[in-house]
């Protein structure tokens, strides 16, 4: 059973290699390119029976979507808790840091990171503004 399968695989590979050679002939005939030779020994042959492993370049970036989400959540919280002034300033800065990291390192969730920067800036401006007004009016 295994021997039959190996023979079948070998036949298929030979046919595929012949097909590659004939393709090279057609190209050289059409374009008159003599540099294209029939020697296919330098060409890396892939076995059609090998499993195809999909390559996803964005997998690492998708993993780090947490930076954008955290930045946005910190931004929303900093807007709501602007009354807490000093604590809110820390949260706003954290939101800014997370969002800027997400944009600078080109992680996923760019829209959320921008929203996080905007919300953190609004929260920071409000909390710093109220803090300055409190000092000015000695509240």
């Amino acid at each position: 059973m295994d021997q039959n399968q190996n023979e079948e695989q070998h036949t298929y590979t030979e046919k595929w290699m012949d097909n590659q050679k004939s393709t090279t002939d057609v190209i050289s005939h059409l374009f008159g390119d003599s540099s294209i030779s029939r020697d296919t020994s330098s060409v890396v042959m892939h076995n059609p029976y090998d499993p195809v492993i999909p390559v996803n370049d964005n997998s690492d970036r998708q993993k780090n979507i947490g930076f954008a989400i955290t930045g946005m959540v910190c931004g929303i919280f900093s807007m709501l808790a602007c009354i807490l002034m000093l604590f809110d300033i820390i949260v706003s800065i954290l939101g800014l840091i997370f969002s800027i990291i997400a944009i600078a390192k080109k992680y996923a969730g760019k829209g959320m990171a921008i929203a996080g920067i905007v919300c953190s800036c609004v929260g920071l401006v409000l909390s710093v503004g109220f803090f300055i007004l409190c000092i000015a009016f000695s509240i």
Binding site: I65, I69, M72, V73, I76, M79, L80, A81, C82, I83, G109, G111, M112, A115, C119, L126, F130, L133, F137, I139
Partner: protein, 140 residues
């Protein structure tokens, strides 16, 4: 070496939801019932500067929501019922999915939940301040 199982975004949010629930119950009983007895001081931003801050009415809205007064909660601050409804739906359906071993599908965490929260906060801040400054309508 045994590899750690990867946690999906929904699972992470579900764990966060459980932690929030564990933290909120003592806050509710300690802060609202034991210390304030349901009475709230006015926000100092409103008291001294005459405008609503983006979080004005949040404590009242939270207290009203926990006591089942949803319309009152919405009027105080709409972010509380908005978050509450999403929280209850997400946690209940995810729990059902967990208990039924995936036969019942729970709702997923969507990013528009967060964008919606920003819109609600911004609209609440603008509308309440316009009504207060132009028409002298108060909500708290």
């Amino acid at each position: 070496m045994k590899q750690l199982k990867k946690i999906t975004l929904d699972q992470g949010m579900y764990i966060t939801g459980i932690i929030v629930f564990i933290v909120l119950i003592p806050i509710h009983f300690l802060y609202f019932n034991a210390l304030n007895n349901g009475q709230f001081d006015s926000c100092f931003v409103l008291k001294y500067f005459g405008i609503y801050c983006p979080g004005c009415g949040g404590s009242r809205a939270f207290y009203a929501f926990l006591h089942g007064r949803f319309i009152e909660s919405f009027i105080y601050h709409p972010i509380v019922p908005y978050t509450g409804v999403i929280y209850i739906l997400f946690m209940s359906t995810q729990t059902l999915q967990l208990l039924s071993k995936g036969r019942i599908k729970g709702i997923h965490f969507h990013y528009w939940f967060l964008y919606g929260a920003i819109v609600v906060i911004a609209l609440n801040f603008l509308i309440k301040n316009i009504l207060l400054l132009c028409f002298y309508i108060t909500f708290i």
